[in-house]
Symmetry: C2
Subunit: 251 residues, 2 copies
């Protein structure tokens, strides 16, 4: 296992507003060409969930949503749009917390996050955006297209901003991963004193997502960032980042 | 609020093993000089908690610790060293979870993490390392020294690896912050569709800590990383990253 000692993180300029059905790989390649960027081997492309969802048609007109009685009651209690709450319930496998105006749910994929990832920021007026149906598959499709066009080994991470228990503020995490290791596992390795590390597994894909957020922002129209200088490691998926229920003390 | 579009992250080479009483600022300045690095204004220095704790003498010989009956019982149930468990209890304000061999505690500072941050990896044999007593103050002292020597505005973040509920792996977070904004607040700003963002506060200091981990690693003897290309924003502290109990659904 080798840890890089220098990284460069750049937001890709010139990406316009994306629409359902747009070819995301083609749009990214066009922006790379326009920026005249040379792509180094083992670059990781971090792509905001929202544009992936948009091109995949995961945009829902709120007018098309019929709220259930539970959605109506909760929306009324919190001053929210009942159609948006209904979408959240539809995207949920399990409600984790429903308190203090906050709805934290486990999505059908197994992500635990506010509003099951349903969000209306950066959505067309009157619409909400759902998470991609299978973000690992979305990442892999994009990786294959970019790899075919650019001819070097690449990773792709699809990222979104999640809140955390205990700490203020959101950080970006990896929803989808392809071509890059999601975790760096130190278990069994020795520290400089010769002691074997016991519990040290680092969620590098989440750290890459967080690092990329620093140049992407949320309203700056920079939904793609490139991270150069890494070693991709053993490719894996974002599914590996989900803790199994029986090991989770905070269900 | 401006979000940078490019960052560089470098691990500082040539830092040796640190001892209680060492002058951390002097050691970092010496390594910078040896590496012949020019320091750009608004560089953020990310420093591993462990070396801060070491120079501050937060290293405890396990032989000096007398375990309480609770520490003995828990240690026996989990196959741990009762003296280490006793140290964890001493560093805790509140036990959050004590189950499945895991002890998650709220430290006297208010951090919620495994083992109250007490750790024996990278510690001298027979010893454990505690978190700094006041990581914001440690960060501010270091920032003042580095700023005085280097003459440019700088930020300092003291980082540690924390696990998270729901997700596998640890990510680095900010325990101490000085000279740089810990959060980027979008509330009230408009997205490109003119919609006001409602719940978007990004924990940028945690993202910087996570980004720096990617070049620091855990056993590579690279406890300091520099992040260049940022705008420091309104300086704050890591205390701002602690969620108030009344707003925390996962106590």
């Amino acid at each position: 296992m080798t840890v890089s000692s220098e990284l460069r993180i750049r937001a890709l300029p010139g990406l316009g507003e994306l629409q359902p059905g747009d070819d995301l790989a083609a749009v990214i390649l066009q922006a790379l060409a326009a920026a005249r960027w040379t792509i180094m081997p083992e670059t990781v492309f971090v792509v905001a969930q929202k544009i992936v969802s948009k091109v995949e048609g995961r945009v829902v007109a709120l007018d098309s949503v019929e709220p259930s009685p539970l959605a109506r009651r909760w929306a009324e209690a919190c001053g929210k749009d009942p159609r948006l709450v209904e979408l959240v319930l539809q995207q949920s496998r399990r409600i984790v917390r429903m308190a203090a105006g906050v709805l934290i749910a486990e999505t059908h994929h197994g992500f635990i996050c506010a509003n099951a990832g349903v969000d209306s920021s950066n959505a067309p007026p009157g619409c909400a955006i759902l998470l991609p149906a299978d973000p690992d598959a979305s990442a892999e499709r994009l990786r294959q297209r970019l790899h075919a066009a650019l001819g070097v080994p690449l990773g792709v991470i699809i990222s979104d901003s999640f809140g955390r228990p205990w700490r203020e503020g959101q950080v970006n995490v990896a929803l989808g991963v392809a071509g890059v290791a999601p975790l760096r596992d130190y278990r069994g390795l020795q520290d400089p004193f010769g002691r074997r590390l016991q519990a040290s597994v680092i969620a590098t894909a989440d750290e890459l997502a967080a690092a990329a957020e620093l140049v992407m922002g949320k309203i700056e129209r920079r939904p793609v960032a490139l991270i150069e200088g890494l070693q991709l490691g053993e490719p894996g998926t974002a599914r590996q980042l989900l803790r199994r229920p029986e090991q989770d003390l905070f269900r």
